[in-house]
């Protein structure tokens, strides 16, 4: 009886949850991977934890903006995870694996280079850059996700981009 009730409640609560997760899993995993500087395993853990939190808040946020809710949880979990596992990120002096022009693995190498450069940023600068330039969020929403004033979020993004410019200057050529 209790089990049936629990299952029914689960079904009621999760109405639309599975569809949302299946549709947004890949995008969320990519955001988490950028936020963790390319750590695939940690990114998957973060997405799982964020989705568990989303499941409990689903009746409230399902009709509003579940993706924004998950994004905010991801940013905070990534920052907390970086503080907890600071030894997991090892900055390197040189970006490895420079691609050759005709290299079939150039896309993979570019991703590795980008992730290595992102990994050298402080977590909040990294989150600001990802939200601003990948998610294309306005500064107000970046600040909301980071939980800080707009000016602080703008500063994080600006410093992050400046640092990435320095790290990637060897590989990125001007467009056109």
């Amino acid at each position: 009886m209790f089990e049936c009730g629990t299952v029914g409640m689960e079904r009621f609560r999760a109405d639309g949850f599975d569809e949302f997760v299946a549709a947004r899993w890949s995008a969320l995993l990519h955001v988490a991977r950028l936020l963790t500087g390319g750590d695939r395993q940690r990114a998957e853990d973060l997405v799982q934890e964020a989705l568990v939190k989303l499941w409990f808040a689903w009746p409230k946020v399902a009709e509003q903006a579940p993706e924004a809710y998950v994004r905010q949880i991801l940013v905070r979990l990534a920052a907390r995870s970086a503080r907890r596992r600071w030894w997991g990120e090892r900055p390197v002096g040189d970006v490895p694996d420079r691609p050759q022009p005709d290299d079939v693995s150039s896309a993979v190498a570019e991703r590795s280079r980008l992730e290595a450069a992102l990994a050298q940023l402080p977590p909040r600068q990294r989150a600001a850059v990802v939200l601003r330039y990948y998610e294309d969020l306005p500064e107000g929403q970046v600040a909301q996700a980071l939980g800080c004033p707009v000016g602080t979020a703008r500063s994080h993004a600006s410093r992050g981009v400046a640092r990435l410019r320095q790290l990637l200057s060897d590989s990125v050529r001007p467009v056109g």
Binding site: W25, Q48, V52, F56, E110, L164
Partner: protein, 160 residues
């Protein structure tokens, strides 16, 4: 947005890999949900038990909510003579000044009556004897039980 920022945006988008939501992901997700639900239930149960315990302790310790026994316990202290009882049980005739009243604690006169105690034996002996026969003239008790000796006994002792 300058060239580098445009290139950065392109790189951030192009590096995305398609990762399907596999059954193992779903299993792990619902395992996490169940574990978190159990943790929340335990947390709520513990919180409720703690709240009930705290409420019970607070109700038990609040003044005025327990059994009303304190006012009945506050009985008036027995009035004693202004001087403490003698420590040594040596019976002397000069004891009336330190003698206790022979009556019960319930019949002890109030403290205002202490100035009417008989004068010390250095005054007129007859007056002391009269005072002893009238109110309290018992010799100093050797034991606590003898403090309640009758005035007749004490009078005969003084007379001898």
């Amino acid at each position: 947005m300058d060239d580098f920022e445009r290139e950065l945006t392109r790189m951030l988008h192009d590096t995305r890999q398609h990762a399907p939501f596999e059954p193992r992901h779903q299993r792990r997700l619902y395992q996490g949900i169940r574990a978190r639900r159990r943790a929340r239930l335990l947390w709520r149960a513990g919180g409720s038990a703690l709240a009930v315990t705290g409420l019970g302790a607070a109700l038990a310790l609040l003044p005025g909510t327990g059994p009303e026994t304190r006012p009945a316990d506050r009985r008036p202290l027995p009035a004693t003579s202004p001087t403490p009882p003698p420590a040594s049980p040596a019976p002397t005739t000069s004891a009336p000044g330190t003698s206790r009243p022979p009556t019960d604690a319930t019949t002890i006169p109030p403290r205002d009556a202490t100035p009417s105690y008989p004068p010390p034996p250095s005054a007129t002996p007859g007056a002391g004897l009269r005072g002893a026969t009238s109110s309290t003239s018992a010799p100093p008790p050797t034991h606590a039980t003898r403090a309640s000796s009758t005035p007749a006994d004490s009078a005969s002792a003084d007379g001898g």
